[in-house]
């Protein structure tokens, strides 16, 4: 197994890195001073690529690796992988579905509470000594607020289940209405945004869902509405989001993802109605280990000619 070349695109998990190092001939792309040169040098031995939400096998990379057989992503979202090209060339693709559903849903609710109840801001208030000078202001009730979910897949359903425990009515937008659910369906995101108080992005990123939250949607959500993005940065028109928040046309936002991570618009740093997280949706010790084991398990299965654990392509 040592002679199998595996290209890891960016650092993502120490345990995963160590295990890959043990089992394969691991090439760490981020350590290369000249990436194209590095790839060219090792192209003949690289049979697998390991990426994540931030970096995947795009067309250019796939073309540069003639011996590539499998792309195993340390994420559920695969928008950075050229799936069509993989299909064309018979390259397998695996991701990490299900195992991170709960963590991402937990974080969505955490962001809702943090924004509405101003958890981060009031923590700042205490730490700065301001509480000695006066009480912090009132914050917005979360229980009972209508939650609108874009994308009622695994993560969307998990968010709904949690929000229901807070007596939140649930509504959603999806490509097609789901027959097996009691939640209220809206046929467009603008209509959904007009009828909810908290809008959550929980769908995959595809060509169709780019900027699914645009200026019109944000205006519909309104000055008391809150946007929660636990999907992908490009789901939201980021410059429009910044101006909507700065101008007060949107009531608040809780963001875990951005269009150009790790860049975050600095205009958002001083806003007390905005909570910013560094893409930690699946960021728990427990889940990262399970995700890593899934990546390792998929690679092992592939090279032993066994059925893949979580194939997408």
């Amino acid at each position: 197994m040592e002679s199998i070349g595996v290209l890891m695109l960016i650092p993502m998990n120490t345990y995963l890195e160590q295990e890959l190092q043990k089992r394969y001939n691991l090439f760490k792309l981020w350590t290369a001073p000249q990436k194209p040169q590095f790839i060219k040098e090792h192209a003949n031995s690289i049979r697998a690529v390991v990426g994540n939400a931030g970096a995947g096998a795009d067309a250019e990379l796939i073309e540069a690796l003639p011996r590539l057989e499998i792309v195993s992503s340390f994420s559920v979202g695969v928008d950075k992988i050229d799936l069509a090209k993989c299909r064309e060339k018979g390259i397998r693709v695996t991701n990490t579905p299900d195992v991170l559903t709960e963590d991402v849903a937990d974080l969505a609710i955490g962001l809702m509470l943090a924004v509405l109840r101003r958890l981060c801001e009031s923590d700042r208030y205490v730490r700065s000594g301001k509480w000695k000078k006066g009480d912090y202001k009132l914050t917005t009730k979360f229980s009972g607020k209508t939650v609108g979910i874009i994308g009622l897949g695994r993560i969307g359903m998990a968010v709904a289940k949690r929000a229901e425990a807070f007596n939140c009515p649930i509504c959603y937008y999806s490509r097609t209405e789901k027959s097996d659910t009691k939640y209220k369906y809206y046929p467009s995101v603008v209509e959904l945004a007009s009828n909810c108080q908290i809008l959550v992005v929980a769908c995959p990123l595809t060509e169709e869902t780019q900027h699914i939250v645009n200026r019109e949607v944000m205006n519909a959500l309104g000055p008391k509405g809150v946007l929660i993005n636990i999907g992908r940065g490009p789901h939201v028109d980021e410059p429009e989001l910044v101006s909507a928040l700065v101008e007060g046309r949107l009531g608040g936002a809780g963001l875990d993802v951005y269009e150009h991570e790790p860049e975050v618009p600095e205009e958002l740093f001083g806003l007390e109605n905005v909570v910013l997280l560094p893409h930690v949706g699946s960021g728990t010790v427990e889940t990262r280990k399970v995700m890593a084991d899934l990546v390792l398990g998929n690679l092992e299965a592939h090279f032993l000619n066994k059925p893949l654990l979580t194939p997408l392509v």
């Binding site: 955490g110 958890l119 981060c120 700042r124 560094p278 728990t284």
Partner: protein, 328 residues
Amino acid sequence: MAHGIIYNHLDLPQVLVVRPPDSFSLYQSQYSHKFHFLKAWESPVPLDQFLSTNARNVQALLSCGRFPINVDLLRLLPSLRLVVTPSAGLNHIDLSECHSRGVAVANAGSVACCDVADLAVGLFIDVLRKISAADRYVKQGLWASKTSYPPGSKLKGKRIGIVGLGSIGQEVAKRLEAFGCSISYNSRNQKKSFSYPFYSNVVELSANSDALVICCGLSDQTHRLINKEVLLALGKEGVLINVGRGAIIDEKEMVQCLVQGDIGGAGLDVFENEPNVPKELFALDNVVLSPHRAAFTPETLTSMREIAVGNLEAFFSNKPLLSQVIDD
């Protein structure tokens, strides 16, 4: 509320207010056609003098939620039969002294329980998933290109020990179950209508929990209930959440445990000597601090005001109180 009519105060039932509750101006503007508020704090004379001059016939008192209603005050009010507090908390009221004087007490009942439960859950998620710490990190411009933020801890499967399974504790339990947490509790009495495992001893509850959520009121029995033994039983990975009262926890011990890593983290809305917060906590990323705002949303404050007034109205019309505190 009719305009241009001056109400004859002598016709309206008197309600003594020693110190004003939050948003007292709203009580004034909305209810001064129903009650004559006797505003003791506006008088230049000392309180006991004001009361002996003006409050001998007063039957009802509207508390501000903090000023102590104790024997020193009660003996100056010979006609008092009702104390109404807009808070859920009762630790500022000497309940047994009221009881022995035949003074009924009414509080806010369970109107605040959802907001308080929401804050408890919010603090818990924040501590486990490092939300406030990560928000600070991003807003300080520290998110560099190739680093991934240190991971937090999963909620699912965490064993939650609820201290006090009253209306707040029940709402906390309902919420955390949806995250896949398991619930156990300690309370004055076992609640037969709930199937959660009951521990009669807080140390045992703590030893079998990954997190303790303090939802009980402050009383002689719960003062310093969460002591060193309980904290050490909670353990290095354990998380402490307090939305009750600061004095339920031995604060000095808790601070030491946090600083030394004997417990894993804390989310605190209340402190022993508010608004003072032990400054050792400011250096800790595994602690989330909230300035006693769990019940403070406009909706809950309105509900608290409405139920306080509802209790006063019921009393003056000889009807049963809406949310009488039964001393048990």
